[in-house]
Symmetry: C2
Subunit: 403 residues, 2 copies
Amino acid sequence: MASLVGNVLIGQSGGPTCVINQSLVGIVEEAVGKREVRNVYGAVHGIKGVLEERLIDLGRESKETLEAVAVTPAAALRSVRKKPTREECERALAIFQAHDIRYFFYIGGNDSAETAHILNELAVAKRYELRLFHVPKTIDNDLRVTDHCPGFGSAAKFVACATAGDNLDNRSLPGIKVNIVMGRNAGWLTASSVLAKQHEDDGPHLIYVPERAFSIDAFIADVDRVYKQFGRCVIAVSEGVHTADGKLLLESKEVDSHGNVQLSGSGALGDHLAGVIKQRLGEKLRVRADTFGYLQRSFAGVWSEVDAAEAREVGRTAMRAALGGEHAHGSIVMKRAAGKDYAIRYEVTDLKNVAKETRPMEPVYLAGDNGVTQAFVDYARPLLGKLPTLRRLSDFPVAKKLS
Amino acid sequence: MASLVGNVLIGQSGGPTCVINQSLVGIVEEAVGKREVRNVYGAVHGIKGVLEERLIDLGRESKETLEAVAVTPAAALRSVRKKPTREECERALAIFQAHDIRYFFYIGGNDSAETAHILNELAVAKRYELRLFHVPKTIDNDLRVTDHCPGFGSAAKFVACATAGDNLDNRSLPGIKVNIVMGRNAGWLTASSVLAKQHEDDGPHLIYVPERAFSIDAFIADVDRVYKQFGRCVIAVSEGVHTADGKLLLESKEVDSHGNVQLSGSGALGDHLAGVIKQRLGEKLRVRADTFGYLQRSFAGVWSEVDAAEAREVGRTAMRAALGGEHAHGSIVMKRAAGKDYAIRYEVTDLKNVAKETRPMEPVYLAGDNGVTQAFVDYARPLLGKLPTLRRLSDFPVAKKLS
């Protein structure tokens, strides 16, 4: 393809992550100063900002600001959950034309890839020359094609550190603890609770993901068995768990324009499960529930350095691919090299391959209905980067003197 | 007082913190090798472990293990919530005698200080020669006499980082967000949500603590006003807020042996407040609630380096005081030096001065019914140590081209 000269526009969409700004900065740094690029703009609140023509000039930001923004959680451009209508896509293209936008990057998950795909189809149909790339991010790790998603490693690190600390707290003051982890369709993040586990009696003792049908009877039997064995029980439950007939344990009324039901931002599922445990196993048991909530994707100052570097590189790759001319549009995917050393290469796949549908955990990663395999640990561990060192006392016994 | 030769026993009690093991290691390192000290023991699960004679030999732990344990959250000796009866105190003294325990250190909050006080009164009455020290820890920061409590700075850092990230998440996807923070009797930790705030429009926009009567009508009016001003609202609410007549918003049935009602380990208060906001201000509003829960006191890998160093020094000071002979018993307190540079000196106060009763936030730290003052920020900021750098884009506007 011939080289294309014009302006660059970047948007961020969907639930933010702790490293989503790394991808933004990666695109900007590859764009600024290139012969084909006049200006580098950002759309405030994603496609909503495009439609409202709320654009900002990213090319004027200092390198120092950009680097500080890169390590700041949540969408620096601000985000949106919006699936544009046909008319809105036409309006977006009119805005692109008015501002001579020839490169558009949409950083987001599967819903944002769908938005990018719809917009791209219209641009192609209208013969508006546009290089349009979806830049992946999601803490849920549920995009297809790619080995894993930028944003996941940092959220997984948060969940692993939270669970490891909570396990020690539970060992200090024993009881039954239910932890609700984000993950609407896929259990990747919930499964990651296992990653700081060191000893056989450490929690999480039980892990429930949406890939397996959830039975309250089996759950109670599992908890009872673990509690009898260890005198305590730490449980990780995905917010998206559902029964064999596909019903969520608790239904919410709130639905977004992509058709997603609200799950996060409430402690109801954890409290419900804690209530059932008390009811079935004994009102006097010490049963507690925490819902890790938005902290999983936004906690300031905790991220995976591996994830941060990859999120940056995914942004850079998207800009390079757009300039390279081999692909007019697509989504960036990460492929893991075979062999025991962890290494990633970056490629382009078609937008339709990542739009809309999600990727569940493969069976090889799941152990029965309440656990994960070593294969999952091997898959996920490199993505979290450095984890804190945790140590127990040796518990050298002192002989009793009284009866 | 004459020097006293015998064994040292250490226990940890109450809700753990991320730096409670620093105090443990501080006592051990000051004890090992001292002429008056034969062995250094730990009681597993505090006073419960004493009564069950579950003692372990801390003197045999390697320096490397102790240093790794020091940076591990939660009670390495394991903890307990238990107020011993008169008979149990007599049994504890019998165990002390059998093991020649002449130095006892109880690391805990106000309830643990009460336990230490009761035990000490009995030892004095029975003329059993014992040096008994309470070593302060509590994320609640509600011990009397001391400037602040070991454990608070790290929990406050967690709350500040969680709130700062959540504020950015809320800026990305605007709405009303309720965050429930630990703090049964005092609002210190909830107030700390303000400490990573940078811009005038940053959350937390509203802060509610137990020191001020909570009115649901005033709360709704506050939220409505902030939401109208900023288009979003981030709120920090202490789990211990109550109405003017002293009633908690939601009552729990669970009470421990010190008479404390269970507040943590449930998302009910946050969900309740989110529900009232929707009901009063509009069902279509995006309203979410998170309860920070046990992560505040146990999250692995996040602590204040200032807090960690002070928790270590409090432990060392307790052991030195016990050997020094000036005090047979007491609790360690921190006094802040006057002047603008932050500096602490460590002193001993009577057990009765810190037992049972708690310290609320002083009026100088509270601004009206829904905020904190600059005096609070100045008081608390040094305790959190280094906080992450967060940065916004400059938002250089691009002129509109369409109407």
